[in-house]
Amino acid sequence: MPPQSSEPLIFEIGQEGRANRYLEQGKTLETFLPKTLVRDELPLPDNSELDVVRHYTRLSHRTFGIDLGFYPLGSCTMKYNPRINDAIASRREFAELHPFTPDELAQGALQVMYELERSLSSLFGMAAFSLNPSAGAHAELGALLIAKKYFKDRGEMQRDKVIVPDTAHGTNPASAAMCGFKVISLHSNERGRVSVDEIRKICGLDTAVCMMTNPNTLGLFEDDIAAIAAAVHEAGGLMYYDGANANAIMGYTRPGDMGFDLMHLNTHKTFTIPHGGGGAGHGPLGAAAHLVDYLPTPVVTYDGTAYALEFDRPKSIGPMRSFWSNFAHAVRALAYLYANGEEGLKRVSQLAVLNANYLRVKVADFLETPYPETCRHEFVASAQVLKKEHGVRALDIAKALLDDGYMAPTIYFPLLVPECLMIEPTETESKETLDAFVAALRAIVERAKTAPQELFDAPVTTPVGRVDETRAARQPELRWRPQPP
């Protein structure tokens, strides 16, 4: 198609009164409400269904998703989103079920949640999960609220420190702060890992929680995890597992076995919930036995005959969202579990790790890989040398990849690696795709040396060129405004 040079805003098209006939014609608002309560203007555009369809179809052509190409966004596990999951979640018996439907008339939904919860608990070695949190960060918050309540119950309210490695995702410290915890940032050692000694050094009576992900965001397995957990526990603290990288461990080890007391999962990562342009996610929150009573409500129970939502849990931190769960995503996640079973999930992790290592060794050929050892589901490369020698940054490489039809890797994270490119291929990509990506990346690195300006100018084939972020932040324009008449 001819690339549309630009698409007007929906507010810039349409005509008042160009209404679609979805409903019958009702009476005026004033028939039912005192005039003083009725708003007198509502400056929204009226558009024909055709024009709306065209608008959002065209916008979709300006949007890159996994369905269009390789999406190696590190830490985000952008794997294939099976269409059966959407088809199932769209069934009216799920989509039209009201959250206040009495339990006995929602047994199917409750069973979905129960089977998912039980499977996750077994798969990750937790006593139970709550499906309440809406995403990973939300579950982190829930976990820290649990920790806070737990220590309060134990009369250990002095525990106000949360240990967060420097490789941790920004949500970890942010969640800690939302619970009033002080964040202790922990430097990774030269192996890119948390060192037991460091942990032992900083752990103490003020330690509430140590938040870790394993493998960490460098893609490296924290092999001292058992000792770390022991140290934290010995100091009286709790271990929290950030499950964003769970795609690397299934069938090989479990957070519960590593010594974690609490954890979350991002089902939108590990279990193929479509990321939807930024959400909605789904963040099941798991707890070991001693913390199960604190999980957010409601929890799904099964008495051998019927499933039920249990709200009355005195120790619980309470609910974290309007209604029970991002249920449609629980449906998708369970469908994915059924597509795999135990063996399949193990295979998922195996091939995710294989793909990452294969990419790693290939990329190491022409880009610095600061941690040249077996990685798990992802690895980091660095453009530090390129920057020094040719002025080409990770950002430039990222933009050049866009021109080749690839989504860019995560860049500038984790923070400890300068000019970082964090690459996570996932298991659903084929060797051919990886080989093609390597070839493209190699060519870009070549061009960085011979024609760096080309990379500064990239991307050039995309609907727009490099966007001015500074201007956006300096002169924020966050909305369209109606023209004064």
């Binding site: 079920l97 206040f100 439907t101 690397a248 342009g277 959400g279 991002n326 249920f327 795999n340």
Partner: protein
């Protein structure tokens, strides 16, 4: 499994990596290695997955009942064009639009969403979504806490109980006190109580919902508004039924500085509670405290209009523990659905839908009020739901309705001990006269029988 690897692929790749087996790549210290068999649901071929969920689906009999449920999740008409657009793979399989150059479509759609929320609420700016209505309220409260430096919050008890419960959960973390203002006999906020509470000048925010949980339109008194202003309290408006914004004066009109709301009514499936789309809108002064993503308009290197994530210095991935919120993944796709819904309905369609809700719910109210033994609990103007007093345990009446394949509404005793005999009933544009007649007939029967308790 969805992985494309043939055995030949695996062998070749292992060789390239220089290891002998997959187990070698994934090995963990023995102490933590998984040894036991798991209890995960069994693997099924795709066609049997469909059948399995068909079985689950059949056990959700509630969807086939006549329903008068609302209370924060609403059954509205969603034109099929929404799904045809929103379920396109580009939208479904994108993530947060970090790379603006290949995300212009989604960025523009979110910019449109932000604008729609501003136009509907009358506020200056809106974010790219938060988890849902309840967390929107919590995040709005955090904004106010930050803005005022105070440690107390005041909320009307006529706000959705679930929203208040979530706020309570958050308050535990924030070490903040949460006080509630009672509602009066008309089931609207008691504004003189509000006034007196504010006298202390201690509250960071005061939150009022309109329509409130009982469906009633709130009209803060002049004195109450004066007290809010005077006390330096941030007024937060809560909107759980966003369609009401098409009919009622926008919260900006009475001076709300932050609006926390739920956009599920805009074409988002009820889906047993989620995912929905929370929104936060505010006046300009709160711009740098607003949580989550914001899309801004800018230009590209050739001066062409371009959209981009902006003001990221508020966010956790930049600011870590000093961020305005921990939110990362939001509810973008639900916001997209709502945006498309709004585009399809337009002003004309939206106002008409609101009028139909008003009409249908009044039809329902008078049918119910005509049943001997039932009374409407309030005479305040309402949007599409209202409270019926049955004079007996509401749960009993609802159970009897259930036997007649009717979901009569929400038992208010669940949330308010003093309203044990009351039901919150909802009608939308999809409620038919047939539904209403069936309910009325059933209620006649039920109310004729003596109460069990």
């Amino acid at each position: 499994m969805y992985a494309p690897h043939t055995q030949a692929d695996i062998n070749e790749m292992l060789a390239a990596v220089g290891v002998d087996s997959l187990d070698e790549l994934l090995r963990v210290p023995d102490a933590i290695a998984l040894k036991s068999k798991l209890e995960v649901v069994p693997a099924l071929p795709e066609y049997l997955i469909g059948r399995r969920f068909e079985q689950f689906a059949e056990k959700n009999g509630g969807v086939n009942y006549r329903s008068f449920l609302g209370a924060g999740a609403y059954r509205h008409y969603a034109p099929p064009a929404i799904a045809a657009l929103a379920m396109r793979g580009e939208y479904l399989t994108a993530y947060t639009p970090y790379q603006a150059e290949v995300s212009q479509g989604y960025l523009q759609a979110i910019y449109e969403w932000q604008t729609y929320i501003c136009l509907l609420t009358g506020m200056e700016l809106a974010n790219a979504s938060v988890y849902d209505g309840a967390t929107a309220l919590a995040e709005a409260a955090i904004m106010a806490l930050g803005a005022t430096g105070r440690k107390k919050l005041l909320v009307s008890r006529a706000i959705h109980p679930n929203y208040r419960a979530v706020l309570r959960t958050y308050c535990e973390g924030l070490d903040v006190t949460l006080d509630e203002i009672p509602f009066d006999a008309e089931l609207t906020t008691n504004y003189s109580a509000l006034e007196s509470a504010l006298a202390s000048n201690e509250y960071a925010a005061v939150a009022i919902a309109s329509p409130n949980f009982f469906g009633n339109v709130e009209s803060p008194t002049r004195d109450a508004l004066e007290a809010i202003k005077h006390s330096g309290t941030v007024p937060i408006a809560v909107v759980a039924e966003a369609l009401s914004l098409a009919a009622l004066e926008p919260p900006a009109k009475w001076g709300a500085q932050i609006v926390a709301g739920e956009a599920q009514s805009f074409g988002v499936a009820q889906a047993y509670g989620g995912p929905y789309a929370g929104f936060i809108a505010s006046t300009a002064e709160h711009m740098r405290r607003i949580p989550g993503r914001l899309v801004g308009k800018s230009v590209d290197n050739a001066g062409r209009t371009a959209y981009v994530l902006t003001l990221q210095a508020r966010e956790q991935h930049i600011r870590r523990e000093r961020a305005t919120s921990n939110i990362c993944t939001n509810q973008a796709h639900c916001a997209l659905i709502a945006t498309i819904y709004l585009a399809l309905m337009g002003k004309t369609g939206l106002r008409n839908a609101a009028a139909l809700n008003l009409g249908r719910s009044r039809e329902l109210a008078s049918a119910v009020a005509n049943v001997a033994g039932l009374t409407l609990k309030s005479s305040a103007p309402f949007f599409n739901e209202f409270v019926v007093d049955t004079g007996r345990p509401a749960g009993e009446v609802l159970a009897a309705l259930r036997e007649r394949r009717i979901l009569g509404g929400v038992d208010l005793g669940r949330f308010y001990p003093e309203l044990k005999s009351c039901i919150l009933m909802t009608a939308t544009e999809l409620t038919t006269s047939g539904d209403i007649n069936a309910l009325a007939t059933a209620l006649e029967e039920i109310m004729r029988a003596p109460a069990i308790v």
